[in-house]
Amino acid sequence: MRKIVFLAGVLCCVGMSLCGLWPSPGLAGTPARVVIGLNSDVRNFDPVNTLDTTTDRVITHIYEYLFVRDLEMKVTPLLAESGRPVDDLTWEIKLRKNVKFSDGEPFNAETVKANLEYIVKKENNSARRVRISPVKSATVVDEHTVRVSTEKPFPTLLEGLTEIYMAPTKAIKAGPKILTDKPIGTGPYQLKEWQRERTITLVRNEGYWGGPPRIATVEFRIIPEVTARVSALLAGEIHLTPDVPPQFMDQVAKSGTTNIRTVAGRRVIFVAFNTLKPGPLQDVRVRQAVNHAVDVQKIIRTVMEGNAKQMVGPLSVISRHLDPALKPYAADPAKAKALLHAAGYTGEPITLHTPNGRYLKDKEAAQAIADQLTQAGFTVKVQVDEWGTLLDLVKTGKVDGMYFFGRSDTTLDGSMIRDWFRTGSTWVTYSDAKVDAAIDKALPIVNPEKRRQAFHALQAQVQEQAPWLFLWTQVDVYGVHKNLEWQPRGDEQFNLKTAGWK
């Protein structure tokens, strides 16, 4: 009886698939289409009021920047042709000609002026203001030339512009909220359909100034559960997905249809100390002891399964101002013990806060760190916090002891050091007058060679003061269909403009 039921079921499936009622899951592989699996949806398509990785991963196909980073993360012109400083407070940017928005509006100096001035105006509360906040105004020189004035010297203007999209002047004047679900950009793709929390479908912009891209349709599919997302990749339903966790890498690499591609990212992972509250961590020797007590390489090998690159100082390993001469703290528990002894630390308990699942293997790594610290003579208690709670604790400075955290090195030239260590910056729980002075001195330097030297010196200084336990730069792991010509980027963007099928 049960056999008959089973057979009937199988016949039913076969029958339905023959009739075409049952769409074959493998169908996604039509050559001109790429399906990408994401773990969450975009917020919306407003290029001015959003600033988060997931949203950017999608909307960079629709809107474009003046400057963009190439695969080596070097800043290169995109909608601009060139950009150069005229004096310490003025930049001149030449624009590409014959660029049009998908609704026909021409892209010109007026567009740049409207966008930049809208974003930097405080009352507009643009999320992207933080990237170019020193910008004061923009003046139109001619149709394709614009001058940007800054309040103070802003040597990283072009880096900042790699995260500022150009929206049509009309939309900016009407308020960029009208782009929330109807984006209009100059980019290689246009939005065809957005089914919230399901799919986002982009189609190629046939009139794209750089010539239409090879892939005609890009579909983003939202699959929140990671096992299901990897399964969809293995089943051929999606062709590309970011953040493949270590436990699935082997399976993806050996499936025959997919492979793993990795790239050193710009996200730095560390344990920060709250030195604003009284406690043993106010003593630099204790902070150095933490750095000596933890064997970062060992944790990378065991917990991270190799998917991380050890940081030497406070900058990401792909930063262009990384000092190649700098050496990381040696893993040396004996030295740690000696430093602790010298500091007079007698086992006062220190809390290590950690999020769970916000960063790759965060909780596991925090536990391994606590373990090693205990062996070196610390008394450490791990406390797992919900992400929002941890943010709250750090923002208000109420967090005690130390906390596992991550930041994104968005400028990749060292200037993020201000956001990470300067007294009074939003998420900083550390204060040192000498470091502050060095940061304030280094930031406005325009001359490239002098800037490089200043940042090298700054890194050494920060490393010595040890406001963090320096851990690693995350390696981003992608699962990719083996026939897809596409390379992962250090800035977590997909950029399918140049992708294609073999």
Partner: protein
Amino acid sequence: MVRYLASRLALTLLTVFLALSFMFGVLHLAGDPVLLLVPVDSSAEHIERMRVQWGFADPLWVQYGRFVWRACHGDFGTSLKYNLPALSLVLERLPATALLTSVSILFAVVVGLPLGVLAAIREGRLADRLATVGSVLGQSIPSFWLGLLLILAFSVTLGLVPTGGMGTPAQLLLPGVTLGLYSLGRVTKLTRASVLEVLRADYIRTARAKGARETTVLFRHVLKNAANPIVTIIGLQMSGLIGGAIVVETIFAWPGLGRLIVQSIQFRDFPTALAAVFFTAVTVSLINLFVDLLYGLLNPRIVHE
């Protein structure tokens, strides 16, 4: 009857109001939503400006008053994450939730009811044992494990159905079964128990004694009298599934209401979370009311006063 209905509806309103107030309090206890919503690199000044713009700078009672006043006018505000009206975000999840809920309940009833009856009339025999073990399994297998297992077997290995998403009937199969299996277990067990109880009643013996055929006894007398608890459990399962299919919705990338609630709480998207809770509270209350009314139809001895 009319008075009964009116009082029940008034009670429903009160329930919804209390649920919303409770949710409002709990959400605000969880802390400041602004930090999660602005980019991590934001300056303290930008965070403060957004707090003012979104109204989180006001004292809590002002925020509560504003929320109640607007909710009474059907306005749940704008989603902080999507920047779209919160209630419309909830309503656009409805078809997905309704579809998944009805398919899994249908599965549970169509399979569970006959199974329960079979188990009862074959009490103590192999069919009964299998059905009992099966229903216990159905209730105790964790859905995240079963769901992933089904994906691996039917999507990755056999390639028969898609791993997830929504749009074609095939995509409904795995989540429907995964979700339905739990209800299936409960329906089977309860059907078995209430049919057994009725089978032992005097009027069944009388029916058999007057020479009624076994099928007549079963459908006319047994099932009708065993129906009340079964209807209750189906109603309960349904209310549970409206907002509670979170795990299955997440695994199968099903864009339902449960996931929306969890996501909006994680993101501290208060307007959306409250709109979703409002909707769930209303639906569950109405289902309960409907089930209560159904009792009277099924069993005329029950009179609603």
